[in-house]
């Protein structure tokens, strides 16, 4: 039986694992041992050696991110902060929800250890407002921790102290961008900040701050208690550990599964997601949420590893796949996504604020049967410009253009058919269009 550290506590009925059961399953034992036996520097080294990469979408090496936090006197006066990014809003992504709702202590233990490794004084869980069940359960779990002495002053006699607060967000996708999230926590509009300075040096209220995804933080306890070698051995290919993979769309068994990094896409879509619904054929899929490039059935035998998916022209993203079938229009799907990104632009910079709505208008022309060859050329030109790295303040617009540009690459005949056929042939197929 392969190790499934992230989901080992989950129950078939989805009921939450409270403190007593979490401890009975071995929870918080690692915390006690690490706080007494390990230095923060040693913890950072183990996470680096484990080669954990961020599970929120970007895949940045977690140990390296932490290493930029000034330690000891170099940090200057005032608190340091750790923030769990629980603002799960990437379209098609529903993986952190299961941890937040069903195993909140796994997140909290990982946060305490991550906070210890960077010597943070205060931690926040930044939770999207619509996750109401998660909000109740995380708040209750935090309360249990204060009562049990896992949070607050001098945690379990270790001399280390940490305060943990839950912040419920008031919405907006852009809050998932870490500097926008920090602005939201400071009570401001969630416009991303210029970098540098990076949050590790100057983040929340100008103090050193680490923002990590929920799933990333959940890995920390397992890595620190079972070691870097064990964690590396979990992956099938170049990347370490396991990952919460998922699939949605017209597959027989949509869901989330913890599988080794490097699991072939075919295994995820055919074995776990059960293949396509009867009467539907696989057309393509976004491998890691709404801001990743389409891949096609030709890519089914690729491994879900950061670099493998990157070389194929897409991104691992959040690892939750959105599946396009042959009865839904690729242009309609891309238009839905572009509308989302146009709406969620923070409005700070022009290519994103004005450019993405322009893309939506062009896609509308295809849907309405008004598009010409000139529109197709304009769509491609503008999408390349808006998606160009460095043309915008943050990564929202480049992410927004990934489905558009990859649709132009793989589903070009659909665009041509919309021009020559003066409209969308899928609209006659019934469901959606």
């Amino acid at each position: 039986m392969t190790d499934r550290p992230l989901t080992q506590n989950l129950r078939p009925d989805g009921s939450p694992v409270w403190l007593a059961d979490y401890e009975a399953n071995g929870g918080y034992q690692g915390l006690r041992r690490v706080l007494t036996d390990s230095t923060p520097e040693a913890c950072q080294q183990v996470v680096k050696d484990a080669r954990l990469r961020g599970r929120g979408g970007a895949g940045f090496p977690t140990g390296m991110k932490w290493s930029f936090v000034p330690m000891g006197e170099k940090a200057g006066l005032g608190p340091k902060y750790l923030i769990a990014n629980a603002d799960e809003m990437e379209p098609g992504t529903f993986k952190d929800r299961i941890i937040l709702e069903q195993d909140p202590h796994q997140l909290i233990e990982g946060m305490i250890l991550a906070a210890y490794a960077i010597q943070a004084d205060v931690a926040y869980i930044f939770l999207r407002g619509e996750y109401t069940v998660a909000a109740q359960r995380v708040a209750a779990a935090i309360k249990e921790c204060y009562v049990a002495g896992y949070l607050g002053q001098d945690i379990r006699g270790s001399g280390y102290s940490l305060e943990l607060h839950l912040h419920r967000s008031a919405g907006r996708y852009i809050c998932g961008e870490e500097t926008a999230l920090i602005n939201a926590l400071e009570g401001k509009r969630a416009n991303p900040r210029p970098k540098p300075p990076f949050p590790q040096v100057s983040g929340l209220w100008g103090r050193p701050t680490i923002v990590n995804n929920v799933e990333t933080l959940c890995n920390i306890t397992h890595i620190l208690t079972r070691g870097a070698d064990w964690y590396q051995s979990l992956g099938l290919g170049a990347d370490s550990g396991t990952k919460l993979f998922g699939a949605s769309g017209n597959v027989k068994n949509p869901g989330v599964w913890e599988l080794p990094m490097g699991t072939p896409i075919r295994e995820i879509l055919e074995n776990h997601a059960g293949g396509m619904h009867d009467g539907y054929q696989l057309r393509g899929f976004l491998p890691g949420g709404g801001s990743t490039d389409f891949l096609t059935p030709d890519h089914l035998d690729l491994a879900m590893d950061y670099d493998v998916i990157g070389k194929a022209g897409s991104r691992m993203g959040t690892g939750t796949m959105i599946v396009l079938d042959d009865r839904h229009c690729p242009i309609g799907m891309v238009r839905n996504l572009a509308r989302f990104f146009a709406h969620e632009s923070c409005g700070f910079c022009t290519p994103c604020r004005d450019g993405i709505p322009w893309i939506v208008q062009l896609l509308d022309r295809f849907e309405q049967g008004l598009a010409t060859e000139e529109d197709l050329a304009l769509l491609e030109e503008k999408a390349r410009f808006i998606g160009g790295i460095g043309n915008t303040h943050c990564a929202l617009a480049p992410g927004a253009m990934e489905p558009v540009l990859s649709a132009l690459k793989y589903f070009r005949e659909d665009f041509e058919q919309h021009i020559s056929g003066r409209g969308c042939r899928y609209q006659s197929l019934g469901r959606g269009h």
Binding site: F94, Y131, R189, S248, N250, N336, F340
Partner: protein, 165 residues
């Protein structure tokens, strides 16, 4: 009337809850979003007079606070119905007939996005991906998530919600 005179527009409970948040953070104005959400929990939405009172309490300008309030989609600057329906209009729900369900819901309630039913019971608002794509299409009614809407009887779902209050 000075700025501070408007603070009593807020109830003692609202002020106490806001001050509890303020005590946890280094700057008063950093409690802006929490304060708006607290007042909204008590009143359903944030009126101009509430906004001015919160701004005075947090020692910031009403204009700056309104810039924040109008940025966030879960802060309502207009009156809403007793229950807000957040209907997911993102991609996984679209692939699972979300548009068709939304049409049925609009027909049933007699309202489109941004509108409130004549009886003041429901306001319908689109919302980005609710993170329940394996159970699409989905929506929230108040604090409750409803899933697999394609296979469900919306009328009885809303009746159940009404009874469940």
């Amino acid at each position: 009337m000075t700025d501070l005179d408007v603070i009593p527009t807020l109830s003692p409970e609202e002020i106490a809850e806001i001050e509890h948040e303020v005590a946890l953070i280094p700057r008063r104005d950093s409690a802006a979003i929490d304060a708006l959400m607290i007042v909204q929990r008590h009143r359903g939405w944030v009126s101009d007079s509430s906004l001015k009172a919160i701004a005075a309490l947090l020692e910031m300008s009403p204009e700056e606070l309104d810039g924040i309030a109008t940025f966030y989609n879960l802060i309502y600057r207009q009156p809403v119905g007793e229950q807000v329906i957040l209907f997911c209009d993102s991609v996984s729900c679209w692939l699972r007939n979300g548009d068709g369900v939304k049409e049925k819901l609009s027909e049933l309630l007699g309202i489109d996005y941004g509108q409130t039913t004549a009886d003041g019971r429901y306001t319908l608002i689109p919302v980005p991906c609710l993170g329940a794509c394996d159970r699409a299409p989905v929506m929230m009614v108040g604090d409750d998530l409803h899933t697999h809407l394609d296979d469900c009887d919306l009328a009885s779902l809303l009746t159940c919600e009404a009874n469940h209050d």
